[in-house]
């Protein structure tokens, strides 16, 4: 079931340099969203089209997203004053699929790829799974200050904290369970090379978010393009033709 609700901004906090968490009151979405699903937000005044954001946390009636300003839409969102309304369409897309525990999941996130992880950790725990989280960023100041897992591991491109390298370099072999990853597409390509069965949340431009425009094409190894907003945004890493998927968002991490 999808909802389109007027959602007032209710909270805002900084979680890293230039990285913010915004909370919107959107009860029906908050109550039903699953890890890896997203909301498509409309701002008026604002750009013509909606902007898609993974749900970061869902708490009671509030849906949280995490973002940085990269263009007009994200700038408008970060300019919102408390109580200002956006139109929130969601929950949209297919999220992470988890089997009940015992077992272990390994969350791997690069930069803003942390977005779907708190919900993934929540759902994994609820299924009795152990959660390890490996998070990477360009530098210490850009690491998300919030994490929610049984064990954490950090990586920075400049070595300012944690492993000197990418999130992938920081995954302890001992911790490798079922891998759920999100980050720049080129990081996800590296994940796919190592763990074809990993579940990855990809990004594409989106025209509608509801499956009608075919703008969010994801090239599958089966040869077809399908829709990130409908069959995705979560895919088996090995099922995507990474070379044909644009890098898009310039996340502040290298893969």
């Amino acid at each position: 079931m999808t909802y389109d609700v007027p959602a007032p901004l209710v909270s805002r906090r900084k979680v890293a340099r230039e990285m913010w968490v915004l909370g919107f009151e959107a009860a029906p979405i908050a109550r039903t969203v699953m890890a890896g699903q997203f909301v498509n937000l409309l701002m008026r005044p604002g750009p013509l089209l909606r902007r898609p954001f993974s749900v970061y946390r869902a708490d009671g009636d509030v849906v949280e997203i995490v973002l940085s300003a990269v263009g007009e839409g994200t700038e408008r969102l970060l300019d919102l004053t408390r109580g200002e309304l956006v139109s929130a369409l969601g929950p949209l897309g297919r999220g992470f699929q988890l089997d009940a525990g015992p077992g272990r999941v390994t969350l791997i996130s690069g930069g803003l790829g942390v977005a779907p992880m708190p919900l993934a950790a929540r759902d994994a725990r609820a299924l009795g799974l152990e959660v390890a989280w490996v998070h990477g960023a360009r530098t210490q100041a850009e690491l998300c200050s919030e994490a929610d897992a049984d064990r954490y591991y950090w990586a920075t491109d400049d070595g300012s904290t944690g492993v000197h390298g990418s999130a992938l370099d920081a995954v302890p072999p001992s911790e490798v369970g079922h891998v759920l990853a999100c980050g720049p597409n080129r990081m996800l390509a590296a994940v796919a090379a190592r763990w074809p069965d990993a579940q990855v949340a990809v990004e594409t431009y989106m025209g509608c978010g509801t499956g009608v425009c075919l703008g969010c094409a994801v090239p599958r190894t089966s040869g077809v393009y399908d829709r990130a907003c409908t069959e995705g945004p979560v895919y088996r890493a090995g099922s995507i033709r990474w070379a044909d998927l644009p890098a898009h968002l310039h996340y502040r991490v290298t893969a």
Binding site: D4, P47, C208, G211, V212, D244, H248
Partner: protein, 291 residues
């Protein structure tokens, strides 16, 4: 605006339809108040399945968007098998947007769809590259536009609408050619070809390089072209381009259109059409001819 109306042999439930490629096959869009749908035009279809173009396929521009989907689709057989049966049970008409690379392909597609339950009419998309003529759009030239129209006309008993290409020197020339070739109505207009560059890569933002511009940005251009078309032909004209509110639809109706189609606005608000039809109630008296 309440009450159904006949447009080019198709009985619409309201004057506001969903435009091709922006409402899928009518099964996808959530939250749309279907009681208000005048009818829908399905995503453009070819005889054979098509993969479509590589991503990125869309890019936003001021008050508009560029798209290059490449007419991705399952092909006519899958459409007849998977969608037509559902359409047959709906209380609003579904037109199929037919595409081809040769006149023959259009004709064969029309023949295959003739008499298929659930299909209320055909809308010919002549904004397709004509492979026999160096990839020039059929819709850029009165002769090829007429050739496609009459070929389709001869192979089907269904109402035939022709959807005009906007970027031509004289749209009335094409419009009249299609009317003479047997079109029952004209849809005006399709997207305008545009392009945008990404500064990081120095490359076009779309993998296909060029794309079709849609959305409010093109509305004044579309109103003008629909107006010229409506004055040039005696068959009904269906206005398309940048309609996002009842006021926008009214501009096309005042310009001489009998109905309108809404595209991009459905991406912004899945229930855009429902709201437009409700909003049109305010203007009913405006539509009566001035006394």
């Amino acid at each position: 605006m309440s009450g159904s109306l006949d447009v080019g042999g198709v009985r619409l439930k309201s004057p506001v339809m969903a435009a091709s490629g922006t409402f899928g096959y009518g099964t996808e869009v959530p939250l749309c108040d279907r009681r208000h749908l005048g009818g829908i035009v399905s995503k453009g279809i070819f005889l054979q399945p098509r993969l479509g173009t590589p991503p990125p396929r869309i890019a936003e521009t001021p008050s508009g968007m560029l798209n290059a989907i490449g007419l991705q689709g399952p092909g006519v057989e899958a459409l007849i098998r998977d969608y037509a049966p559902q359409w047959a049970s709906w209380d609003f008409p579904v037109l199929v947007n037919v595409n081809g690379e040769t006149v023959g392909e259009y004709a064969e597609l029309a023949a295959r769809l003739d008499g298929v339950l659930g299909v209320s009419g055909l809308e010919i998309n002549i904004s397709c590259p004509n492979v026999r003529e160096g990839g020039m759009f059929f819709g850029n030239d009165p002769r090829s536009a007429a050739a496609v129209t009459s070929a389709v006309r001869q192979r089907t008993s269904l109402p035939v609408w022709v959807k005009l290409t906007p970027a031509v020197t004289d749209i009335t020339e094409i419009a009249r050619a299609c009317e003479e070739a047997g079109a029952d109505a004209l849809s005006a207009v399709n997207t305008f070809v545009g392009m945008s560059f990404d500064l990081q890569s120095r490359q076009p933002r779309l993998a296909f390089h060029t794309g079709g511009l849609s959305g409010p940005a093109i509305r004044p251009l579309a109103v003008y072209l629909a107006h010229r078309t409506a004055r040039a032909v005696s068959i009904p004209v269906v206005g398309i381009g940048g309609i996002a509110a009842a006021e926008d639809a009214m501009e096309f109706l005042l310009a001489g259109c009998r109905a309108v189609q809404v595209g991009t606005a459905t991406f912004v608000d899945p229930n855009a059409i429902g709201k437009i039809v409700e909003g049109l109630r305010r203007y009913e008296e405006l539509l009566r001819p001035p006394d």
